[in-house]
Symmetry: C2
Subunit: 392 residues, 2 copies
């Protein structure tokens, strides 16, 4: 599925409330109905500012606030304007939240962060305002609230958000590896005016450490109002990932979960199963085996909670687990079926499928394999046939 990101082009409605905090808005609660030009792409501040963005509001942000605070007279010609950086509030600031924050900042936007763990030192170093609580973060009224909690904690995190402190057109987005669950949760919990974008950046700090180019970014604009500036904010938020080079894939949350259960969950399951075998490198690794060793290592470097989340929070996962189990059983049956054919050929037709001489001596390991078949498989072989074989 190709990217179908629509960009905000030409004149867009841009309210003062969308870019000014409650404290600087000269008319709190009132969104004036005037328009400014909105650039097609967010314009990056100079590279130096991106590398070490200040923790306090940036000059660009300040400039925009001042512009928004000065009434614009309809008989003046509209002046081209640099849109304010988006203010993205990240809730849950572990490895993945920090990783995503990097891209947001590289695209010239402002990151605010809140987390149970104290990341104030990390944030000070990276030009990010850190808040001890989601309440304090929400008082800053970010344009986008990006939930970066784990799958397992997301429900409690979302239910604890003080939505009344946010602007009524705030966009809430998530980055979970499952999508129907956060979609339904956000539709249930969020006030009606809030925008909802469900996303899945299908990469992480390891696979994306050399850049996000060509890595898949799945998104579903679950609820984005056409009027007001929600649509523009949505597109500006998504353009962060497009500008970083991601392969943008728009699909419904349900479609994502069907695909992901049959691909990502299967992959994690194979990795988890192999990790139980404690595989190790041998002096005679084939290329295929080295691939599996790498897959196992990558899988167990993720937490079991993630794997459990992929299972528990994707309604298609159980079916895939069942299919995998049936596939394994099918392969086992194919092997034992062939083995039984081999033996029957010897003992019923008196033929020798191996070309062995008729002296009863054999180099064939068939006897060993028959003796080590599982109890379940043994029952499929007639005891009479087994006993009748002179070589077993």
């Amino acid at each position: 599925m190709a990217s179908s990101l629509r960009h905000f082009a030409g004149l867009g409605c841009f309210s003062a409330a969308a870019s000014s905090s409650a404290s600087t808005s000269f008319l709190p609660g009132y969104a004036p109905d005037f328009c400014v030009f909105v650039a097609l792409r967010p314009i990056k501040p100079p590279a130096t500012a991106v590398a070490n963005p200040p923790a306090s509001p940036s000059p660009l942000e300040e400039e925009h606030r001042q512009q928004a605070a000065v009434p614009w007279h309809s008989d003046d010609p509209p002046a081209p304007s640099v849109p304010a950086p988006l203010r993205v509030g990240i809730v849950g600031f572990g490895n993945f939240g920090q990783f995503i924050a990097g891209g947001v900042q590289r695209q010239g936007h402002t990151v605010l962060a809140a987390s149970r763990t104290d990341y104030s030192a990390y944030c000070a170093q990276h030009g990010i305002r850190f808040f001890r609580s989601v309440d304090a973060l929400c008082e800053e009224q970010p344009d986008v609230l990006l939930i970066c909690s784990s799958i397992l904690s997301t429900e409690s995190v979302v239910r604890a958000i003080p939505f009344h402190k946010l602007r009524p057109d705030t966009i809430v987005a998530d980055v979970l590896s499952v999508k129907e669950f956060p979609r339904n949760l956000l539709l249930e919990v969020l006030p009606p005016g809030f925008g909802i974008i469900c996303t899945h950046p299908m990469f992480g700090p390891e696979s994306g450490k050399h850049g996000w180019g060509k890595l898949p970014f799945v998104f579903d604009k679950v609820r984005v109002a056409d009027d007001g500036d929600q649509a523009a904010t949505c597109d500006r938020f998504l353009s962060i990932f497009e500008q970083e080079g991601c392969r943008m894939v728009e699909m419904s949350c349900a479609e994502h979960d069907r695909y992901a259960a049959g691909s990502q969950f299967i992959t994690h399951t194979i990795g988890r199963v192999l990790s139980q075998l404690n595989l190790s490198s041998t002096p005679i690794n084939t290329k295929g085996y080295e691939t599996l060793l790498q897959l196992t290592q990558n899988t167990v470097s993720d937490s079991f909670d993630l794997y459990y989340g992929l299972f528990m929070y994707n309604i298609n996962a159980t079916e895939q687990l069942d299919r995998l189990e049936m596939a394994f059983e099918k392969v086992r049956q194919m092997l034992s079926g062939r083995l039984h054919d081999f033996i029957r050929k010897q003992i019923v037709e008196r033929a020798d499928p191996s070309g062995k001489l008729a002296n009863g001596r054999s180099s064939s390991p068939a006897a060993h394999h028959l003796s080590t078949l599982t109890e379940e498989n043994k029952t499929r072989v007639s005891p009479a046939l087994t006993l009748a074989s002179p070589t077993l």
Copy 2:
């Protein structure tokens, strides 16, 4: 395990019988006990000769036969001599036999081939003498008889070889992906004076199409006489693969089969299991999933006979299959165990692990997963507990 190929260096015993056919030997059946210099490495004929070696004996081969046929007087100083190319008879000339023949020819040796299928046109094009029967090939008395049949047909192929037509110090080698089986078969069937080298080139026409550099070549000198020229012929044969750049791994056949069951067989099994799922590319492939797609494709491009051979002819394979099944079951139990903990926490301790409000509404898919647990797993949940849950 590093390569431990020992090379024949300095003076080596080199009998006339080793390099002359029965028709040119002036004393058939007698191996004179004189020595000539044997080069450390086989000396390649000019590249043009390698690219299109003649199907009839090469000038180098003829020159050596003439040298060998002239008695050498012990009071003459020994003259440096170019060793004759090895004459390698390949039995079973399918894809893999042809692939190995390429390396033998690149190292300047002569290939004779016999196969059930008529490969005379292919052989004429590639400067290889083709024989309609193994009998006819054996009458040419090659230095090395290389068995390149499939695992399943090897026993009948080996038992049909007319050993009495070969020289009594002929070396027989195999290239199967299992090693204890051909080792025991050859020890059982071959006359006592024959040399036995069991090898496993752990690559094929696909993985080795750009050269054999660094690809593992496993070998076990099962039975090679120290006296006579068998040891030298063995080393010259093995040096074909070393000169091609292979990573030479000397290990016992039993050790090979233990390692291979835990690596190569597991890899093939995973590929076979995944092929049952009919996986296909999705718009949201992760890198790990693409790895599995590739593995599946590589696995099914090999015949099921090969996979069956890896299972049936390696006594360690059943144990590995059992371990894989237990690992799968363990992962399944870990998932259902966590799911049950989650539900018990809700219904026994009356706690809400998801942070959900106490209105009984839930976005959690736990109910779905519990309802889709397999019958086996369902029995582990007390029906009372299941019924007591208000959200299920």
